[in-house]
């Protein structure tokens, strides 16, 4: 686990070489952050600012001199005299393959950030299909169990973010976990119990961290199904939640003057991107069906 550098405490600086350039960062900084400070962009999937790194997706791997295998830049701390390559043939190959593997097994159509990286690395997920033997895919029907949000594991890349947000990193509710093993591993409640019967408290923090749309607002899901979801036309209005005195920032996403979903900025000092059921879903009163 990477310890976030605290400016007041971290007096020690380490200097590493990234792509031939010397880069100095506070001790404890991840390689990923060091790359960022050097202006080098790194694709990430399972990493997020507001979650503990789990380093499972392997799309952020870099080559570190002296290390036999590639290392996950999100979780490995930068060290003095480390020599890092972020664009070597091995790195490019692994990043491309990880993206291809995901694209060949799940529906990435709503993972907008990944599309750019797939083009960047020339990933071609279709090359795994054989004429009479299509590549096996994660094949799941959307789970629609309530009016607030849906889970469509056909789109799940098993980045563990929702599990982290539901558990130790934010909500401490532990309603979902990874079950099964290997390609059959899925995010699940106990015995796949429907959400309303599980420990879920409908904070929606899993939606907030999901990178692929596998967990999304029911409003968004329905509008996509009706082909009226138009993110380009949506307005985002920042406001403060009116339900209690904590002062959580809300970002109201509106389309045609109706609220379609609610998020909170990951870098907000109060929420770190996480909300409760009231902030996340308690906006229906603004636009009750009777006021249509």
């Amino acid at each position: 686990m990477t310890v976030a550098p605290d400016a007041a405490v971290a007096e020690v600086t380490v200097t590493l070489t990234i792509n031939g350039r010397a880069v100095s960062v506070p001790e404890g900084t991840s390689i990923h952050k060091a790359c960022e400070s050097a202006g080098i962009e790194t694709p990430t999937l399972c990493w997020a600012e507001n979650l503990t790194p789990v380093n499972v997706c392997r799309v952020c791997v870099v080559e570190v001199e002296g290390s036999r295998a590639l290392v996950p830049s999100c979780a490995r701390a930068a060290e003095d005299e480390m020599v890092v390559q972020t664009d070597s043939p091995r790195v490019r190959h692994s990043r491309k393959m990880v993206l291809e593997f995901l694209g060949s097994s799940v529906d990435l159509s709503q993972a907008t950030e990944l599309a750019a990286w797939m083009r960047h690395y020339g990933a071609d997920p279709d090359r795994y299909d054989q004429p009479d033997l299509p590549a096996e895919r994660i094949s799941e029907e959307p789970k629609i169990q309530d009016d607030l949000y849906i889970r469509d594991y056909d789109k799940c890349v098993l980045c563990y973010k929702c599990v982290e947000a539901c558990g130790d990193d934010a909500q401490h509710t532990y309603a979902i976990a990874v079950s099964g093993r290997g390609f059959d591993a899925r995010i699940s409640t106990e015995f796949d119990t429907v959400l309303p019967d599980s420990a879920c408290v409908y904070c929606g923090n899993c939606i907030g961290v999901c990178p692929t749309g596998a967990i999304q607002f029911k409003t968004e899901f329905d509008m996509r199904a009706a082909e009226v979801w138009r993110p380009d036309e949506q307005e985002v209005t920042t406001t403060v939640c009116s339900f209690c005195g904590v002062g959580c920032n809300l970002e109201l996403h509106t389309q045609d003057d109706r609220i379609v979903k609610v998020t909170s900025p990951a870098d907000h000092s109060v929420t770190h991107g996480h909300l409760c059921i009231k902030g996340r879903f308690g906006w229906q009163y603004v636009q009750p069906p009777t006021r249509k």
Partner: protein, 595 residues
């Protein structure tokens, strides 16, 4: 509980009684105020390592883990049910669907489907068992390759068993080929000393090494082990002395030594025989490791499919404890040391040391990123030395006779002797002990002529995670350095012989399927890569050829698994398949390498 949501299903009396045998009194539950519940969250951490034993108890009592049973365990241990379900579904030996196990079934028979059994007519055995109305579970390697095809019976309401271990089966059937040979070092007690008696073990020199170690002191023991050049026998060959010294240097936190008895590499059965036939040596050497590293906690993590070895180790630990060889003043060393035994539940990945920690702690057996290494952040994130039984028992010899004597066997860079699990088409399959440097041909000669009418086509070295070599490798000295130089590995000591009458494509399809099934699913390169690799093998099997497009993928898939997987499973998952292609063992690939 105030802070955990547990569903309405409740456990029945059978389940409650079964769980009580492993968890003990339910006083761990704190039902009342917020303040006490806070105490409860600490207990959650403290008791979680009992999750795996509790799941075993439920499975064994009812033949499956019911929602009520799971809820009961979750409430006692303060584990969120979703997490406990995630843990239970991780293991091959646990069922979470009642329909899998009709109540009239007394056991489920696991039949091994991996290489050694695959070429020993296991399918005929499965058909026969099913015709007799047995419920059959196709299992990955059961670690009984010398008596293929292998069986294991998972009991329902009764203990698990292995038919070949039954008392009616003459002890002679369990003879190792070299039994009684005076030159044996590691196997000297096997078949000669009663494995159930501490007195017999001591009468044959047992516990002299520990006494000697206590005389020498921890630093001198670590030095002797380092000087001996002993390296880990699980496949990674890490220097044992370096590992012990690193743990010994850690101060101020509880420390652990773990005997990694989760032997699951297809083709490997060495540790099983050591544990079954010389369990006191495992207990003594683990105690010695605890003394040398300053660890007070010893753990034996043994795979669930080894009931006899588990019983013998439990007996050995019990007798040692009674004799004061474990406990507050273990063997009069002034050092506190005790051993707890934990059973795995069917997961190859749990032999990977960090996955083993996760499993033992009550989490899914998912490997952790290294660094940090186990010597500083091991079990419970505390300093830990992990060794398998073969590595451990070597240290008895080293302490007793000194590093110089130890180095008189083997080669400069691979000192000592090595246990080899010889199986496949040989007339005397079994466990052999030879000095490092013995050639592959000499080892196969020891195991007698080939069986069947074919000629030697290939030898699988080091198991499914190892690689195939051709008959031209018979002159290869079996050392760490020579095998590495020839692009193969000793791995866990597997030497499996295949003749040219065997369809290697079937064997390779199964090896690919093995990795696909055993991948924990955590990282993308391994979770998806093993599936794509298996699909490639299936295409070869179905079509007898590989499309040019697919062929170019084989190397690509292997490279990302080697480069970007989290742990050794992914790193080695393509090794056997690629070596088989290089050797031309798959008719479709005609020997030219895809790489």
């Amino acid at each position: 509980m105030a802070d955990l949501f547990i569903g309405d299903d409740i456990a029945d009396d059978v389940e409650i009684a079964a769980v009580a045998t492993v968890i003990g009194s339910p006083t761990a539950i704190v039902h009342e105020t917020e303040r006490l519940v806070y105490g409860g969250t600490h207990r959650r951490h403290d008791h979680r390592h009992l999750l795996l034993p509790a799941l075993h108890a439920l499975q064994s009592a009812k033949g499956w883990i019911s929602p009520g049973g799971l809820n009961h365990v979750c409430e006692l241990l303060q584990v969120p049910p979703a997490e406990a379900y995630g843990v239970a579904t991780f293991y091959d030996m646990f069922r979470l669907d009642e329909s899998d196990h009709p109540s009239e079934v007394a056991h489920v028979t696991h039949v091994c489907v991996d290489a050694a059994c695959q070429i020993a007519a296991n399918e005929e055995l499965i058909a026969e068992l099913e015709a007799n109305g047995e419920q059959v579970h196709r299992s990955p390697c059961l670690g009984q390759c010398e008596r293929a095809p292998a069986l294991f019976r998972q009991g329902i309401g009764r203990p698990d068993s292995v038919p070949a271990d039954a008392v009616e089966v003459a002890e002679a059937a369990r003879r190792i080929p070299q039994q009684g040979d005076p030159s044996l070092r590691l196997l000297r007690n096997v078949g000669v000393v009663d494995p159930t008696s501490l007195d017999a073990y001591r009468a044959n020199g047992g516990y002299r090494a520990l006494a000697e170690a206590i005389e020498m002191g921890p630093a001198a023991v670590c030095a002797e082990v380092a000087d001996s050049g002993l390296s880990g026998r699980g496949g990674a060959a890490f220097p044992t002395g370096v590992k012990w010294r690193a743990v010994a240097a850690e101060q101020g936190r509880p420390k652990h030594v773990v005997a990694n008895c989760d032997e699951s590499e297809p083709g490997t059965f060495k540790d099983r025989i050591v544990m079954e036939q010389d369990p006191f040596a495992v207990v003594e050497s683990l105690t010695l490791a605890g003394f040398a590293t300053g660890a007070e906690n010893g753990w034996i993590y043994i795979r669930g499919e080894y009931p006899l070895a588990t019983a013998r180790l439990e007996n050995a630990v019990g007798q040692a404890r009674e004799a004061g060889l474990l406990g507050a003043d273990a063997a009069g060393s002034g050092h506190r040391f005790d051993i707890e035994i934990r059973r795995g539940a069917g997961a190859y990945i749990c032999g990977e040391e960090t996955a083993l920690f996760a499993s033992l702690e009550g989490f899914r057996g998912e490997p952790r990123s290294k660094p940090p290494f186990p010597t500083t952040h091991g079990l419970f994130r505390e300093p830990t030395a992990v060794n398998n039984p073969e590595t451990l028992i070597n240290t008895l010899d080293i302490v007793l006779h000194g590093a110089q004597d130890y180095r008189s066997r083997g080669t400069e860079r691979s000192p000592g002797t090595k246990l080899l699990c010889v199986s496949g088409r040989v007339s005397e399959p079994g466990l052999y002990e030879v000095p490092f440097g013995t050639t592959l041909g000499q080892v196969l000669d020891l195991a007698g002529p080939l069986t069947g009418s074919g000629a030697l086509a290939a030898v699988l070295m080091g198991g499914a995670a190892g690689s195939f070599v051709g008959p031209d490798a018979l002159d290869m000295p079996l050392t760490l350095e020579d095998t590495r130089e020839r692009g193969t590995t000793l791995g866990s000591g597997v030497v499996m012989a295949f003749t040219d009458e065997i369809d290697m494509t079937d064997v390779l399809v199964r090896i690919a399927e093995f990795f696909r099934n055993e991948s924990c699913g955590q990282c993308v390169p391994c979770r998806v890569g093993t599936v794509r690799q298996h699909e490639t093998m299936v295409q070869i099997q179905a079509k007898g050829s590989l499309s040019p497009q697919r062929r170019s993928l084989v190397g690509d898939i292997a490279e990302v698994m080697v480069d970007a997987s989290i742990c050794g499973l992914g790193h080695t998952a393509a090794s056997a398949v690629n070596s088989a292609m290089d050797l031309g063992l798959l008719s479709a690939t005609n020997g030219d390498s895809p790489r």
